[in-house]
């Protein structure tokens, strides 16, 4: 973990969302998909707590955070801070997604806003010429990742609750057709979805084995070092500090 001033070098606005690209080579080089970075969101004392962001892009010198539409005070500050400002970053926190050596067919499954956390892993897998499918579920078309944000080689599947894009329904409905093909799964969604996913895997493959599904547990972090015990969750057989064990867990641990 580092504490570093990252310069805001680019702000892109997509409707009510924004993406901020931050120049911070040392941090970018250590950062992997799914690892949160804690960012101060004020020049003064308000907001006092850092906001956590899962990177949506990572390259050699910079990373990008995404501001979803939200009423959060910290996000509001980030929407207004001028380009060129230095943002105080603490990270990377904990454990991110890893592309295991054996995997050829990588299935990425993302629900709603959380799907964005998969992007750097999707990109990296495509760069390694693995075959990648990204499947996302959202309330409607406007909440899905635009296809032009993905590498060309990635197969992209969308499910929306209102049918405004892709199939109508819930992401879980795609699992029967996608699971047989996959030999590694990276997931980002709710605990409910993870239970559905685990059940589907068991149904389709007989058993959910360690190492098959990596799942991001969403929470907020105060210290990121294991000291404060604010990030604890009842997962992996006890009350665990997510900042040390996660936030990306093996699905077997996460649910047991």
């Amino acid at each position: 973990m580092l504490q570093i001033k990252a310069q805001l070098i680019q702000r892109k606005t997509y409707g009510v969302s924004q993406e901020l690209r931050l120049f911070a080579p040392k941090l970018a080089q250590r950062l992997t998909a799914g690892q949160p970075v804690l960012v101060r969101t004020g020049w003064g004392l308000d907001s006092y707590l850092r906001r956590s962001f899962h990177p949506v892009t990572i390259d050699a010198e910079s990373w990008t955070l995404r501001l979803p539409p939200s009423g959060d005070r910290g996000h509001a500050w980030l929407r207004m801070v001028p380009e060129g400002s230095e943002l105080d970053c603490l990270g990377p926190i904990g454990v991110g997604y890893t592309l295991t050596d054996g995997a050829r067919h990588v299935l990425c499954l993302g629900e709603g806003e959380m799907a964005w956390a998969l992007l750097p892993a999707v990109t990296q897998a495509a760069e390694r010429r693995l075959s990648v499918t990204l499947a996302v579920g959202a309330a409607s078309a406007r909440y899905t990742i635009p296809a032009n944000r993905l590498p060309l080689a990635v197969e992209y599947r969308v499910v929306t609750t209102d049918g405004s894009r892709g199939r109508k329904g819930h992401l879980a409905a795609l699992l029967p057709e996608l699971l047989p093909w996959a030999d590694a799964i990276l997931a980002a969604g709710s605990i409910d979805f993870y239970h559905q996913l685990a059940e589907s895997v068991q149904t389709q493959r007989g058993m959910l084995v360690q190492g098959f599904v990596q799942a991001l547990y969403q929470t907020s972090f105060l210290c990121g070092t294991g000291a404060c015990l604010s990030c604890v969750a009842d997962i992996a057989g006890g009350r665990r500090r997510v900042c040390l064990r996660g936030p990306v867990f093996d699905l077997v641990d996460l649910l047991h």
Binding site: M1, Q3, D46, Y48, T219
Partner: protein, 284 residues
């Protein structure tokens, strides 16, 4: 310039700097943020320990408020034996004094833990006993005396800020070597998840309560040393506390939220106590 926090105790408790990493800021001594090290602090106070493990509060445990947060773990901890087994070798190795926070459960729990510590000479340098927010004079006196009877270690008693002046004298009579002023007042606010959390204040919002409690306790002139605690974030804050009669000062949230600022503060405090006129109070 060393600071003696327990001048009337045979063992004494000598700090190289008045800045203390307070109540669990670095867990039990193993959770250090980048850039922070033992030698930056005059002492380290651990997270709370109870005889038995405690699961603490069901999360969420954190609610952001204007300029601070409400925060409580509900004394979540792995229990006395486990922590001692795992951490005592570390405590023994470091030069910086280690102060253990002991919390209750069954009557006699704190005294039982203090007795165990008495047996392992040289691993631990002091005990901090937090007085619960709603404890009355009799209850506070009782558990402090019980610990006092079984230990020669310096005892720091941590008082709730809003009731500090009311409780202070009884705690000194019961055997406190130093008073920690204090635990910030509890409040209620929605968490990010929309649950209403009742917990003590933390962060800069807590400091004005600390300062008021400190002034009131210092005015009692009880003949013990005083440690300010709660919301301390800047060199100005530290200087105000020392002016108002504190012998040392604890920080916690700052270590979590801005380790680089905590490190700067630790170095500035060291420079300040050498020569208060040389150090520049914060500009932000």
């Amino acid at each position: 310039m060393p600071i003696e926090l327990a001048p009337h105790n045979k063992r004494g408790l000598t700090l190289d700097s008045p800045l203390i990493a307070g109540s669990g800021a670095v867990g039990y001594g193993e959770n250090w943020a980048p850039g922070l090290t033992w030698d930056l602090f005059g002492a380290v106070v651990t997270a709370p320990l109870s005889v038995r493990p405690r699961k603490g509060l069901t999360p969420p445990r954190l609610a952001e408020i204007p300029a601070g947060f409400l925060f409580s773990t509900g004394d979540h901890n792995p229990g006395f034996r486990r922590v001692l087994q795992r951490q005592a070798p570390l405590w023994r190795r470091v030069q910086t004094p280690v102060i253990l926070t002991l919390v209750g459960g069954e009557p006699g729990d704190r005294a039982w833990m203090a007795m165990r510590l008495e047996e392992i000479e040289g691993w631990v340098d002091g005990i901090e006993l937090p007085v619960p927010e709603d404890a009355n004079l009799g209850e506070a006196s009782a558990f402090i005396s019980a610990v006092r009877h079984v230990t020669t270690l310096p005892i720091l008693v941590k008082l709730p800020a809003t009731r500090a002046a009311h409780l202070a004298r009884a705690c000194v009579v019961a055997g406190a070597d130093a008073l920690v002023v204090g635990a910030p007042p509890p409040a209620l606010y929605p968490t990010e998840e929309g649950k209403l959390l009742e917990a003590p204040l933390a962060g800069p919002a807590a400091f004005p309560f600390t300062l008021r409690a400190l002034r009131r306790v210092a005015a009692l002139d009880l003949g013990v040393t005083l440690v300010a605690s709660g919301g301390v974030h800047t060199l100005d804050d530290v200087a105000l506390c020392l002016d108002e009669g504190a012998d040392a000062v604890q920080i916690r949230s700052l270590i979590w939220t801005d380790p680089a600022a905590a490190k700067r503060l630790a170095l500035d405090v060291q420079a300040f106590v050498e020569s208060p006129w040389a150090a520049q109070p914060d500009e932000a």
